[in-house]
Amino acid sequence: MTYSGFRVIREALRGDLGWGPAWRDADPKDHYDVVIVGGGGHGLATAHYLASRYGVTNVAVIEKGWIGGGNVGRNTTIIRSNYLLDGNEPFYEMSLKLWEGLEQDINYNAMVSQRGIINLIHSDAQRDAFIRRGNAMILNGADAELLDEAAMRREYPWLNYEDARFPIKGGLAQRRGGTVRHDAVAWGYARAADRRGVDIIQNCEVTGFRTKNGNCLGVDTSRGFIGAGKVGVAVAGNSSRVMALAGMRLPIESHVLQAFVTEGLKPILPGVITFGAGHFYVSQSDKGGLVFGGDIDGYNSYAQRGNLPVVEDVCEGGMAIMPMIGRARLLRMWGGIMDMSMDGSPIIDRTHIDGLYLNAGWCYGGFKATPASGLAFAHLLATNAPHDTAKAYRLNRFETGHMIDEKGMGNQPNLH
């Protein structure tokens, strides 16, 4: 069934009895051309692009829980392409362009909202750094705009411009950035892939890889062995655990990141504000809740919940820059487990086992990458060669010295 305005009206007149499930909850077959492990945004997007762009439709997405139960349903939904380095910026800009056409491509309302994102500037040195970043973005075909304090005050009159430590002196805006309804991304990609014949298999945990003479033959799962021509792993925060089943140690630590949402409020915040110096960022959801977050907790964790010191730190950041947030009541807070890589950048690559491919290391910024990650991973799986925009995301870059370290922090995952 194709979704359209006409369909909504028709169903409204017929008591909404004609809507079927958006995708089939499939049982595993014995063999697929491609098995994708992980039904998060990246795995589902990979399946969609494999089927729609590369004509590979005998595909299964295997998810240990339910699709969308991982980070794709836990993130703060911000999309942007404001990176500095050559290895990253063309990739993230491609992702933003894919977001712009996503809803037509998958025939699903993912509520892509290009409401703009602004990184706050507090000092001359920071302005210089952001001018450089903005120029790098423009050179790569993205948009960037430098705002002075007066322009900031016009757009966001209620920010705290007089903070003694971090007075706001301007901002770097990317108008095409914004937010996307995260669950709808998982559901939309799942539905689009399913319509082309992809099997989405839930409650099916991968427990091992079967290999013979250095070739991957398929995966052992909690629902039996599933044979595969190729296996692509996209399990985000669980990358180290899953790849350990294939005998690999990854340049990754798993860390917890927390997020917060307040009660619904009237529209106050038109775009996304990031206060990097104070570890706080915020946007307002379409339901009215202020969605905000800050730094990762900073120690290895698989707990999917964080600790109180970071809650305090994030709230202090919020109070410093946006004092009125103190009047809002917090509704919910939660944590997600992310694969923090050694240089803060992702990995989309082959492995030492033929037919086994890895998509990992997305840190706290992998939601915005979902379309590009899916497309690049599909390209790699279908052609065995890296996508043009993902050539830098090699697994061996830590051996060869070609790290992509946006923050210049070195091999300390909790500082990226």
Partner: protein
């Protein structure tokens, strides 16, 4: 999290800074034939287990001692806290 410091007793984890896997104490031999691979593994590859994890914490807001803490990464429960210098001495003592 509360870290039971061997010298001070229970302290709030926010007094401490996290470094990473305690294997960072075992620096490879730079004179070895395989030093390049060994240092790659040492500097970049991690076990990253779900479960008990031995890790280095620095008491920055305290006595600036390094600790080796055994903590479960699934529950955050801390089961053992040692001074890193004691661990290092034990490791280096002739067997």
């Amino acid at each position: 999290m509360i870290i039971d410091h061997p010298l001070f007793g229970p302290r709030d984890a926010s007094e401490f800074v996290y470094l990473g896997d305690a294997s960072l104490m075992d620096r490879p031999d730079w004179k070895s034939e395989t030093a390049a691979q060994d240092f790659h593994a040492y500097a970049y590859l991690r076990d990253n287990p779900a479960g008990p994890h031995r890790e280095l914490w620095f008491h920055e807001g305290g006595d600036r001692s390094w600790l080796v803490i055994t903590r479960d990464t699934v529950t955050h429960e801390i089961t053992r806290v040692e001074l890193a210098r004691d661990v290092a001495r034990k490791q280096r003592a002739p067997q």
